[in-house]
């Protein structure tokens, strides 16, 4: 379904010294830096799978999504989605794919959503029956039936995101790229979007790549996660495997007269380590917990530990 081999992307950007002098200097002599956004990555995703792409800002997540959606050309390597090279922008491929970007509107800002949907119906050549079915299903599941006749710019952020989702899924794509779909939404809107995506995934089984900084999105939706660091994959496996790793460690939260700090220790060393902490500090409070998934993922991102 999605096969990526040795994919690389290099960006060249201009840099400028700070200040007015730097601006003048840049008028005559501009310096550039080259950055490897993706460093020869390999990836395979099967039909019906949904994977969570996790990484710090600048790790290369969005670049990967942009290449697979056909927006950006890679520097080297190969990628096929549904048998198509995305950057060749074959219409047959584009009719089966969608990209949802949390911060970018794809529906027409000054028009009611239904007007945009009618246009998308023509662009994607959706037949009348499927169009009616999809509008019905999507509007009901996302609970936006009453908002479809209002100018999009007048909708709340959460409503706009739901309308964006509707617009992107109207042609029932087989491949979905979701780039930060819940960014900026309040908790209830985030929950609604997650619930919808879960239902959609169960019903239509598309292959989905989700990038998000919200661990709730990942935990709720992605059985498989890929962690990226500086353009490379440092973990590609199941979320359950990450959860299993937690079983071997304990997280100590210690409050002393001076400070509060956390220490993660192997389960078998728990007794010895706790005694050591008590002997070295004036401990006021001690709390022993299982480390959260967030802690483990953060540790993998920081230390680049391959699992």
């Amino acid at each position: 379904m999605i096969a990526v081999k040795g994919l690389r992307k290099t960006f060249t950007t201009h840099v400028k010294e700070p200040g007015l002098a730097g601006s003048f200097k840049a008028l005559f002599n501009r310096q550039t830096v080259t950055k490897d956004a993706l460093k020869s990555i390999d990836l395979e995703i099967q039909q019906g799978e949904i994977i969570g792409l996790i990484g710090a800002n600048g790790a290369g997540k969005t670049t990967l999504v942009k290449i697979l959606a056909g927006i950006v050309h890679p520097t080297a390597g190969e990628a096929t989605v549904l048998g198509f090279r995305p950057w060749e922008r074959n219409n047959e491929y584009r009719r089966q794919m969608c990209l949802i970007m949390g911060q970018k509107a794809q529906v027409w800002w000054d028009l009611p959503a239904l007007d945009s949907f009618l246009l998308l119906k023509e662009i994607y050549q959706i037949d009348d029956r499927l169009y009616r079915e999809n509008i019905e299903f999507l509007a009901e599941t996302l609970m936006v039936k009453d908002q479809l006749k209002t100018q999009v710019r007048k909708l709340s952020l959460g409503e706009r995101m739901k309308v964006e989702l509707m617009a992107a899924l109207l042609h029932r794509p087989r491949v979905i790229f979701l780039d930060e779909p819940t960014i900026g939404l309040d908790l209830s809107a985030q929950k609604a979007v997650r619930e919808f995506l879960k239902k959609y995934q169960q019903e239509f089984r598309p292959v989905t790549i989700l990038t998000s900084h919200y661990m709730e999105d990942i935990k709720e939706l992605c059985p498989r996660i890929v962690i990226m660091k500086e353009g490379s994959f440092v973990y590609d496996g199941s979320l359950t495997q990450v959860q299993r790793m937690l079983g071997d460690e304990k997280c100590l939260s210690i409050t002393t007269r001076e400070s509060t700090f956390k220490v993660t220790v192997p389960r078998q060393d728990l007794g010895a380590r706790t005694a050591e902490i008590f002997s070295q500090n004036d401990v006021l409070d001690l709390n022993i917990q299982d480390p959260s998934i967030e802690d483990v993922i953060e540790s993998i991102m920081k230390n680049g530990v391959s699992v």
Binding site: G70, C98, E122
Partner: protein, 262 residues
């Protein structure tokens, strides 16, 4: 219905979405420009104590400046900077995702705006004609058709410049410069008969006179049939040439697009 007809309809709905802006665009701008030009030329004619200047009477000059501002809007269709701004902020990506050619998409939205201003020209020209009874309506159709071909040619010129944003992020000043050249040497500010003979002769070999002057003169009934036919063919040729240029730049430039902003 095909997608481009839906897109044109959606674009028209966008134009009609804001009432105040619609009326200002539809009547206000053209009226203000006309009044300023009329006052200016009235003084020039009076100062020169003449009834005819370079083939224009005050009345034909007024008609010229009634048509020119609307003609400019037909020519420039969607706003200047429409494409480079989208490349700059990343919204350009949507055309790469839709299963259609972005040239076709942009041409549809651009020419919809042009056609809308074409309707404006018909209405304003008709009102002027009814009030003054000076010209007939027979020249209106070829005039508007020429304006639409000119709009396609200008759109292709604009695309060439705007696609340069794939290399240099900000090309706003270059765009303004090109627009100025097209309008100035096209007769958009002063009729070309006021230019020196040598400049007028040289301009025949450029696309500029066919962008503004010829469609305006055709609408006014000042152009001869053979001039209109020859001008249309030359304009079509230029339009095709610029369009091929824009395609070439896109073929090269697409590798540079990074989708910054998304």
């Amino acid at each position: 219905m095909t997608w481009w007809r839906f897109l044109a309809a959606a674009e028209l709905r966008k134009i009609l979405a804001f009432r105040a802006d619609f009326w200002v665009t539809f009547i206000g701008q053209a009226l203000v420009q006309l009044l300023i030009a009329r006052a200016l030329w009235q003084s020039i004619f009076a100062a020169n104590e003449t009834g005819v200047m370079n083939g224009f009477t005050l009345q034909t000059m007024t008609l010229y400046y009634l048509i020119v501002p609307i003609g400019q809007k037909i020519l420039t269709g969607e706003n200047v900077g429409f494409l480079s701004r989208e490349i700059y902020d990343g919204t350009f990506s949507r055309y790469l995702i839709y299963p259609l050619s972005f040239f076709q998409y942009k041409a549809t939205t651009y020419l919809t705006h042009s056609a809308f201003y074409g309707i404006q020209l018909v209405l304003i020209f008709s009102v002027y004609n009814l009030l003054t009874g000076t010209t007939g309506f027979t020249t209106l159709v070829p005039g508007i058709l020429l304006f639409l071909v000119a709009a396609f040619a200008y759109m292709s010129i604009a695309m060439i410049v705007e696609l340069l944003a794939l290399w240099a992020d900000n090309i706003w000043s270059l765009m303004v410069l090109v627009r100025f050249f097209c309008l100035f040497f096209g007769g958009g500010y002063v009729p070309l008969t006021f230019f020196p003979e040598t400049v007028q002769r040289a301009l025949v070999y450029t696309p500029f006179p066919y962008l503004v002057s010829l469609p305006v003169r055709t609408t006014m009934g000042l152009a001869q049939t053979h001039e209109i036919v020859r001008g249309s063919l030359v304009l079509l040729l230029w339009a095709l040439l610029f369009h091929l240029g824009a395609q070439l730049i896109w073929t090269r430039g697409q590798y540079k697009y990074t989708g910054v902003g998304i």
